[in-house]
Structures are given as C-alpha cells and as structure tokens.
Symmetry: C2
Subunit: 439 residues, 2 copies
C-alpha cells in the first residue's frame, strides 16, 4: 500500500484523554477514533490488525473442531426472560424498544440465543459433541468506559458454546478450548497464563481466565516461574484425543489472580520461583452444566432414550480488547512493536527523497518486487522530512523498515532496520529483498 | 468437513412463513434461523456463504483503490442532528437511550460518521481522492420485514464513501465504483445491470441501481438486449485510468426500473431487443456533492488555498441480501444451485453405505486427498437412506456431488454429478479426483 493512497491520520500530540499506553498509541498511530464514549471506529491500520487477530482466533477455533456461525447483535428480551437474566442483568445491558414497542436488547453475550438454536435442532446425544462459536460485536453499557478498546462499550468478542451429554464429555470440550486458547494467544505473540477464576454472573463451577503479563496490567497476578516455560501444544495436537495431560500440566503450577490468590500456597514456593506481576485478562472459559439448558428446555435423549438437559460451557476471547493487550505487552518509548503474526504490514518502505529520480525508481522497484512476492509493504512515498518519516514508522511498529535514500544509493546500498531490536543492516537492494522474502 | 461433526439442521418441511423461494430454501437448507422479525442467525452453512460474498466484495473494493475501515454499529444522535437527518429519518431508525440517557441509534447508514472521520483528519486536496468503505451490520426498523434476508431489519452492508475536490473528480470516483460493481456482481455469478435511479432520501443528482434479473424479482425492469452482452471489465482494468468509456458503454443501452421507465423510449427499440423482466436491487451508487460536507463543515483547501466543502458520493452493496438474490437467480425445484465462487463447499461426498468397510475406506481416502489438495468437501459420513442424502445435497446446492457406494466400487467406480446440469459421470476413483482437482 502506498501511503499517498492510504488513510493514516497520525496524531503528533499525545491525546490527553488516554490514560494508558495502548490507548495513546492507538490514537496517535491513527488506528482508532472515538465516536462516542467507549465506541470506536477502526481506522484502516487498526482494521487490518483487528482482522488478523480475528483470523488467528478463527483458525484455532476451527482446528479444535468448533463450528462457526453468526448470531445477530439485536436480540429479543423474551429469550432472556426464559433464563431469568433479563431482569438480573442490570444497566450494562443496552435495552431497546423497536417501532412496535417490542423489548429488544443489544447482545452482551449469547448463551440464551445459542441455547435456543441448539434446542430447535438437536434431539439426540448422537449429534454431540457440538461447539458453536461466532465472532460478533457485543455491547455492554459500562458506567465509565475507559482505557480505549480495553474497556469499550461496543467490542468484538469470540464466544463459543459447547454442548455435551454429560459432565465428563463437557470436561473434554472444556479441555479442547483450553488447548485452543493456549495456541491462539501464543500465535498472537502473547504469553498467556491460565488462572483458575471465579465463575461470576455466568455461573458454573469450573472456570479459567487467560491472563497475559504486562507491567501496565489491570490486576495483580501471582504464579510460579515453572508455568512460564511450559511448551505450547503444537499445531498437530490431536483434538480428538485425550488433552487432559496438557491441561494438567498447565494447571498444576501455582497461578492465580488477586481475587483467587492464596498467599500461603504462593509463599510455599521457593523464592526464586515466585512471580508477582500485573496481568490483563484476554480470555475466559466456563463450564456451567445445565444452568441455561435446564430452564430453557434444551434437552437431548441419551443412549438410554431418556431426555436430559444438555451440559454446556462458554468460552470467550476479547478480540478487539486483544489489540490493546498486545500493545500493552509490546511497545517502547517510540511506539508499537507488532508481533509479526498481527503486524498490519511486514515492511515499511521509506523513500527519503521523493522527487529524486533514482530514489523514486529504486523504491518503486522494491515496492513492486516485494508486493509481487506476497510481502505486505506500506510504502511511504510522500514528500516529507526524514525525521517525521522515521518517527511515524517507529510509532506504527511494523517489524521491518527499509530505508532508501540518494546517499546510500550512490554506494548501491539501502538500510534495513528491525523495529523490535533497533538492529540496522546496510545491504545491497537485492540482499535486502532476499532478507525480507525470507520472512 | 464431515457432516457428522458439522451443524446442518435441514428442514424436511417447507416453512409456512416463507413467501419467496430464497427464504424457503435458506430455511430448509439450515442456512439461517429467524431470531426475531427480520433478524436472523447465520447458521454454519449460511455463514460460509456470507463470508465468501463479503470477501469478493472486499477484494473488488480494494482493487478499485477504496480503503477499508470499520465504523461501529451504535452512533450518537448528535452527528445526525448536524446533517439534519436525525428528525427526518423517521421510524426506520432504531433509536436508543443509553444508561446516561444519551440519545444513540443503530446506524442505518454512515454518511454522517464517515464525514466526521474525514473532517477530523483531512485538510488539503493533496490527500484526495479518498474512498473509505466498511462492511458492517446495519439496522433499519422496517414496519413489515419479510422475504427473509432480502428485507431484514439487521443486515450486512458494504458502504463506501468517496471524497473529491470537485464534481469532475467525484465523477471519476463514481466511475471507479461503477466498474468495481460490474466486476463484483459478475464474480458472484450474477448478471447485474446498472439502471439510472432516483436519488431518494440520500439526495444528489447522479445515481444508478444495480439490478439482477430474476423471475421472482421485486420490481419490473426494462432494458435493451444489448446490455446483456456487454463484456465485464477484466481484472487488470486500470482504475487510475479513464473509465468513462466503460461507463458510457454500460449506460448507453436502454435500461430502467419501473420508477424511471420511459415507455416511449423503450418501444422505440426494435422489438427483438426489448427485454421486459423482473429485477432485484443488489447495489446502489450515488453522487451527492456537498449535501453532507456542507452542513458538517468537511472542507478541504484547494490548490488555490481556498477552503471548500468536499464532494462526496456513497456506494452500497447489500451483502446479506445478495445471498437471497443469488438463490432467487439460481435454483431449481430440488434446491439451491450455488455459483462456484460462493458455494459453501465445492464438493458433496456421499457415502451410500456407512459401516461397509470398503465404502468407508474409499470415502475416507477421497475426503483426505481432496481436502489436502485444497478442495472444500462436505463429507456425508452419516448413516442414512440414499434418497435423503441425495435430497439434502440437491437442496444445499454444492457444485459437485461425488457418490460412493458398494455396488459401484465392485466395478472400481464412483459417480460424479454436476448439480447445475444434473449431468452424471461414472469414473474411477482417481479420475474423479483428477476431475475435481481441475476445478
């Protein structure tokens, strides 16, 4: 993409309203624009990253055997009356009356609707296990939205719902999501730690939060150093096999959020194993049995022909929140440092002297070669000062910067800079292309 | 995808509430489920097709130079007061009050918000032309939603907005979208005809609807036979060149909807050129100049330094509606006939005798070979009657059916059926694989 044809409204000044670094950087880098309190537009650079995060989440859900559908944002209050949550939910639910004065709401979550879909279609244990997920916008009318996309009102969430004949099978479904989450966050460049959690308003008796460590995290977390070194399940992990050894390995070392912290157990660890840090919740999984299927009559016949309420779990990932979390975990003074898997472009190509025939021509050639080779390039082809160009590229955090100017070209050289380390290489044009095509 | 692990709730009976064929077929094929009047869940089969349509629309927007962003669904009433449309819009706008009693709404369209984004960032003609689009859910509170996804309340729309320094440049932007639309609908397997249209509540003085011909179409349309044979612009059409010859070629032959019909002009055509048919609107493009930029103060400085309101156009495609339109245009008595570009799977593999060792093993092998070769297969591996299996495959309309049973296998043969024509080939297993891998 040529910058001259892109829409990248960089802010030179730090916006006053942003309290945390990810919010500041996303505003400055022209990734988002606030439209109302807690409601954002995703500008082109932000939209690319959002889609990349979404796609990684989707691929790992699919790999685990979950099936994608898409439920609407607007729901009927009737469904929520069946579960008893319509009155219980409180002011975070955005309630709406349509032109016929029917009570509707903007879905904050989808347990009721997916249970309704399930009960309309599934009658027998033979159709199980089933895990249905969607990636859809949700609305929670937070009394004080803040921290940018970390605690917005309109946000993108992946929510999956598992259906099984009994508690034991439901536990297997839970394990599949547990493993899928480990893989998902790892692919996003994050170190996420599952921590036993309170089940809260969704209910149930088994729940884990996935927490990433970031010094700016919202809550205190405590864990054993051992958990930080566990291997991530590989991409050919057998989701139809027994995953409990993996889950056991990841749930044995001490790990707890503030709320669930057991100081005595933590202090029983050798001192050099105690990690006390700040964390950000990026995923949450629950087993809640028949809490919704019971009152909503989502029954299936078992092998004995007897109908019984189906056992359910739900599994959320805050897709839009993840963008903020990734930035909290990966930035420096100059700006964002994107993990390669979600970087909006792999390379920022900087023309230091637009209008100079040779520089323009080398840049055009580089842009074409890299683009044709499938490397995503943002090409700064705009007339401007070198300092501002470097600052913008550092701010938006692409993994590589390829800098082309007339002085280097006199020696046949261009400069390649790795954003994460600041490492610089002076290379011939061909060597730079080869280096970038190697990934 | 193995059917035993998929979620495909086929309805054996024709739903009474569905008045038109696409609605009936989408319900029967387990593609959608109504959650409230005019509000649908997209079940897994429907979600796959929806994503494929969305992706083709996106690719052609990108090819034309439009830039993707994503605006939120919930908007502030304030913005709509600036344009004067908040009071004018009427009951189709879903109006919402949040917990702080602020007036909000579920966006039915985005002229105001995108103009706000533009004015916050762009000051000079040097940043033009610019075309920003998004693919986002919209809500229009239709008094009587009907025809399934063809006239739903919550629907997915691609809306693009162009910004140019003057009327002439805005016309070039209009032409780019015109050409992108021709390509988009062609790739979706549709014959779409641009017809000069009324500008209606969006305003402006230049507008075309893109109408596809379908015997079940919502309105009468009239055109010259010549327009049906015009070539579609190729994939390397130069969007930075002069597109007016293409637009002229497509706007010269007579073509008009009922509303704009000029019977005298139509009857002046030779009788064998007169096409009188039914049509479905699938896209609509507008040039409306400074209608929003004027009142909202979206000004840019021209080459002379003088500030002036930017010239705008807007360009919509009904992404979710297109699924209904494609089915209206492509089905038979037995069910849907998907164009290959949007088919949820390329092949339906039918095991006629699950449990028979040889049949199971050949089917498993075929499934693996085709899947590894990148061919999307829905594998009916479920125990069931042959007749019901055939009926389901015909209903869901995959381009190819690959039928494997013990009798054929005795002779080393499987059967390949092309859904669109009913043509059947009896082939060896290898020959069938080769045929399917050839596309």
């Amino acid at each position: 993409m040529r910058l001259s044809r892109f829409f990248l409204p960089i802010l030179r000044e730090t916006p006053k309203e942003a309290e945390i670094v990810s919010h500041r950087l996303m505003l400055r880098a022209g990734m988002i624009r606030q439209q109302s309190a807690g409601i954002y537009s995703w500008l082109p650079l932000g939209k690319i990253v959002l889609s990349k995060i979404e796609q990684i989440v989707r691929e790992e859900q699919n790999r685990s055997g979950a099936i994608e559908l898409l439920m609407p944002t607007i729901q009927s209050a009737e469904l929520w009356r069946e579960s008893g949550r319509y009155d219980a939910y409180g002011k975070e639910m955005l309630r709406i009356e349509d032109r016929h004065e029917r009570e509707m709401l903007y879905g904050p979550t989808n347990e009721e609707m997916v249970t309704d879909i399930f009960r309309s279609a599934v009658r027998s244990y033979r159709d199980l296990p089933l895990n249905l997920y969607h990636i859809q916008w949700k609305f929670r009318d937070e009394v004080r939205p803040r921290f940018g996309v970390m605690r917005g009102r309109e946000f993108l969430m992946k929510d999956a719902y598992s259906f099984d004949i009994d508690r034991e099978r439901a536990r297997e479904a839970y394990n599949r999501m547990f493993v899928a989450y480990l893989r998902t966050f790892d692919r996003l460049g994050l170190k996420a730690i599952p921590m036993r959690a309170d089940t809260g308003p969704i209910g149930g008796d088994l729940s884990h939060e996935f927490i990433i460590l970031a010094s700016t995290g919202e809550s205190a977390v405590f864990c054993s150093k051992d958990i930080l070194d566990l291997p991530i399940p590989p991409d050919d992990v057998d989701f139809r096999g027994d995953l409990s050894p993996i889950v056991t390995a990841w749930t044995t070392p001490y790990a707890a959020t503030d709320e669930m912290h057991d100081a005595a157990a933590f202090e029983a660890l050798p001192e050099d194993k105690r990690v006390s840090a700040r964390g950000i919740e990026v995923g949450h999984i629950f087993y809640f049995g028949t809490k919704y299927s019971g009152p909503m009559g989502a029954n299936v016949a078992g092998p004995d022909g007897v109908e019984q309420p189906v056992h359910m779990g739900s599994y959320g990932i805050g897709v839009s929140r993840l963008m903020g979390a990734i930035i909290e975990a990966s930035h420096d003074e100059a700006g964002i440092i994107w993990p390669e898997s979600v970087a909006p472009f792999a390379v920022g190509l900087i023309n230091l002297k637009t209008g100079d025939q040779k520089t323009d021509s080398v840049c055009d050639g580089l842009y074409e070669r890299l683009t044709n080779a499938g490397v995503a390039v943002l090409f700064d082809d705009v007339d401007g000062r070198a300092g501002a160009k470097f600052a913008t590229m550092d701010l938006i955090g692409l993994p590589w910067q390829l800098v082309v100017g007339p002085k280097g070209l006199e020696r046949g050289e261009v400069e390649l800079k790795r954003r994460a380390t600041g490492e610089r290489l002076t290379l011939s044009v061909d060597a730079a292309v080869n280096r970038l095509m190697a990934g």
